[in-house]
């Protein structure tokens, strides 16, 4: 048994080396699918990790209570909250200065800022973690990290607060409020004395109280139940986290859509690549059987080879996906982002490898069994699957110019392959429509929150670019398979009087027909996908429609690229001496 297995592995390895081109394309298509799946599975969890880590290290508050002004009723309500049921620890109240606009000035530029008085030893709740320098001292402030990044501040720099000069003593992170630019004004910590020094310039003086709860999950209910005074604002830690991760969550939306589209296209490409390889392997299987291999052993060799593809692509996809996660998952700043994003969990590994094996198994099992069981003599004599006859296509094509006659007949010989090609391209066209619509929706938003779309844009366009590449690989693969499959008919057409150019155009036209269908399906499918996704994300009403120029350019560019790229294998096939193909038959 071990000897047979070793022989099967050796023969599979030989076949891999014998057909490296299609093997590489198959591996790339599978890799695309497994990478997309890894990303989709890992980003959501990984996005929260730096924030969760920051929250843990700083002993972040479950509820932040902020007063907008200092008066007796507000102070009393705040004092009551310190001992409210469910509160297990608190820090503060800390004085908070609301300074007028542009009160913080660096190099002549003004920014909005709140100044919180914090000094002494670490507090029980919300202990800002220094990422550079030291803690506050008289004349030295600590700047919240995302705010410092936005202002380009480093330890030792000088700034003014309400006209008073200060040095930057340190830079720190906190989980008690959203980082800049989600939070505006930015945050600076100072000593009590310094706060008192600049307090006269403040618009108002409030206080901040940080609370830890016995049941953190019930923080939203606690905040809602204890909002008893209008001048007190209670914010739970879940809202703070979700707002801090808004851009990542937006990107996740694009990522999930993109991953789904990518997986569909990759599956179509895998099916095409496998069909092409199996067509070529039919004769090899027959040869092996002719020299004594059993159908079971032939099937074992072929399945070994495809299992290798599935596992290799699965492992490579996990590695690639895990490496792409950190830049996508990292919030803009203001968290301890140096925390390493852990590798994929066992569940993710199992899911990705399992899905790769199942996808490959579904694409290969039936044709493998068919090839293993097919008649040896018939497989040695010629192609396994007879072509499909379309009476309508034959009748219609007779009225067309020669290249279109050849092209239409070629396209309808293998309707399954044409359908796979159309599906693959339509997914790409649909993704293009989604990207155009998304762009139309967010490009008009130039306000303070426009930055939250940055990651969504990066993700969407990365996916669209990857989809385009994969779809074009798919188109070339299909054109190549079509050219190979039709080598005899093309050669015969030339022997009967068709010129090489007519045959080349015919082969390219056979690829363009599914592309035309893909455009016709892809554009409405893109509109539908965007509507469904936008509705799931809160509604697309009021989103501007995509630009007409873009919608017109999309199908034209798609058709042009397919035409240009599929001409290459078609041209190569058209140049091969006709008699070679006829002789080989």
């Amino acid at each position: 048994m071990r000897g047979r297995l070793r022989l099967a592995v050796r023969l599979a390895a030989r076949d891999l080396r014998h057909r490296p081109g299609t093997g590489l394309l198959l591996l790339l298509a599978m890799l695309a699918a497994t990478t997309a799946m890894t990303l989709a599975l890992m980003v959501r969890g990984s996005a929260q990790k730096p924030w969760d880590y920051t929250f843990a290290v700083t002993n972040g508050p479950h509820v932040v209570v902020t007063s907008l002004q200092a008066d007796a009723a507000t102070d009393a309500a705040m004092t009551d909250l310190m001992s409210a049921p469910g509160v297990v620890a608190h820090s503060g109240p800390h004085p908070l200065l609301y300074l007028p606009a542009d009160s913080l000035r660096v190099n002549g530029h003004g920014s909005d800022v709140d100044v919180m008085a914090r000094e002494g030893g670490p507090s029980a709740v919300d202990r800002p973690a220094l990422t550079a320098g030291g803690w506050v001292r008289d004349g030295g402030v600590v700047v919240e990290e995302s705010f410092a990044v936005a202002l380009g501040l480093a330890v030792g720099d000088q700034l003014t607060l309400a006209g008073q000069p200060f040095g930057v003593a340190g830079i720190a992170v906190t989980a008690s409020r959203q980082p800049t630019p989600f939070s505006n004004p930015g945050l600076v910590w100072a000593t009590n004395a310094d706060v008192a020094r600049i307090a006269p310039a403040a618009e108002s003086l409030g206080q901040v109280l940080m609370l830890r709860l016995a049941d953190p999950d019930r923080a939203p209910e606690f905040a809602a139940a204890n909002t008893t005074v209008e001048t007190l604002i209670l914010e739970d830690w879940q809202s703070t986290r979700d707002e801090a991760l808004t851009d990542v969550l937006f990107a996740l939306f694009g990522l999930i859509l993109g991953a789904a589209a990518f997986a569909m296209l990759a599956a179509a490409t895998v099916a095409v690549a496998v069909a092409g390889r199996l067509a070529a392997q039919g004769r090899r299987a027959a040869l092996l059987k002719a020299v004594g291999a059993t159908p079971g052993f032939v099937g074992l060799i072929m399945l070994t080879e495809y299992l290798f593809f599935a596992l290799a692509a699965g492992v490579a996809g996990l590695v690639a996906g895990a490496n792409l996660v950190p830049p996508l998952a990292r919030p803009v700043a203001g968290v301890l982002g140096t925390v390493p994003v852990p590798g994929p969990s066992m569940a993710t590994v199992a899911l990705v490898l399992g899905a790769a094996t199942v996808l490959m198994g579904l694409s290969t099992l039936v044709p493998t069994v068919r090839a293993a069981r097919a008649s040896t003599v018939r497989s040695l004599a010629g192609p396994a699957r007879p072509p499909r006859r379309s009476r309508l296509a034959v009748a219609v094509s007779a009225r067309l110019p020669v290249p279109l006659l050849l092209g239409l007949r070629l396209a309808t010989r293998r309707p399954g392959r044409a359908a796979l090609s159309a599906v693959g391209l339509s997914v790409t066209v649909a993704a293009g429509v989604v990207a155009l619509w998304m762009e139309a929706g967010i490009s008009g938003d130039t306000g303070d929150t426009a930055f939250i779309y940055h990651k969504l844009r990066v993700v969407t366009y990365t996916f669209v670019a990857a989809l385009v590449i994969l779809a074009l690989v798919n188109a070339v693969l299909i054109a190549w398979t079509t050219a190979l499959d039709n080598a005899r008919n093309s050669a015969l057409a030339r022997a009967l009087g068709a010129t090489p150019r007519q045959v080349t155009i015919g082969l390219a036209f056979a690829s363009l027909l599914p592309a035309l269908l893909a455009v016709a399906i892809g554009i409405p499918a893109g509109f539908a996908a965007y509507s469904v996704a936008a509705a799931a994300a809160g509604g697309a009403e009021g989103d501007p429609a995509p630009a007409v120029a873009g919608l017109l350019a999309l199908p034209l560019v798609t058709l042009l690229m397919v035409a240009v790229l599929t001409t290459i294998p078609s041209h190569l096939a058209g140049r091969r001496p006709a008699i070679d193909a006829l002789r080989a038959d």
């Binding site: 072509p387 006859r389 034959v394 020669v402 010989r413 005899r488 009967l496 068709a498 006829l582």
Partner: protein, 245 residues
Amino acid sequence: MSDTTVVAAHGLTKTYGSGPGLVRAVDGVDIAVGSGETVSVMGPSGCGKSTLLHLLSGLERPTGGEILLAGERVEQLSQARWSRLRRHTIGFVFQAFHLVDELTAVENVELPALLAGSPPKRARQKASALLERMGLADRAAHLPSQLSGGQKQRVAVARALVNDPLLVLADEPTGNLDSAATTEVLRMFARLRAQGQTLVMVTHDSRVAAIGDRLMGMRDGAIVDHTHLGDRPSTVDELVFGDLS
């Protein structure tokens, strides 16, 4: 033999490989076929007779020598020019039939006419008429898989004739047929000869070769015999069943 030469070749050569591996598939062949003449080329397998037909039809480019088709030098024509020439001037019959699997008999026959730009209706009429001539009117709507070997070859011959070519080249036309089918095809070629169709047939079957006006023997790429066939059996049945071996 007519005075008008349809196809001629002088010093025609085709080699493959180089150095010690050089193979002379066709080695300095001279041949001339007059209008309405039937020439048989006979020789053992691998002697270069199929390659000779491929050269004469432009399916392969010669290494040396010249080819004249209807008085015009053609050996250096581009593939595209050869394709256009084949549409109207040459009909080719392959040993393996080479019918398009998904096309019916009549659709196979009309294909070269469509490639040559004939209107579909005229192409279909011509194809149907030819199939009738070949005795296959009742098989016109059948796919190749539904035809016997002899019927397939007759369809292939009808296809070769659909554009009224000056010259029909037949490569081992009975090579893939059993004896009953061989008889069918021999009868058809005899009729073509009688109708004045210019024909060059390569074969290793003496019964097929006997149809010709002339018989050329080929060995190792060269023509080694050249015989005018004078007293020949008058009917195909005598050809097929007579003692000709």
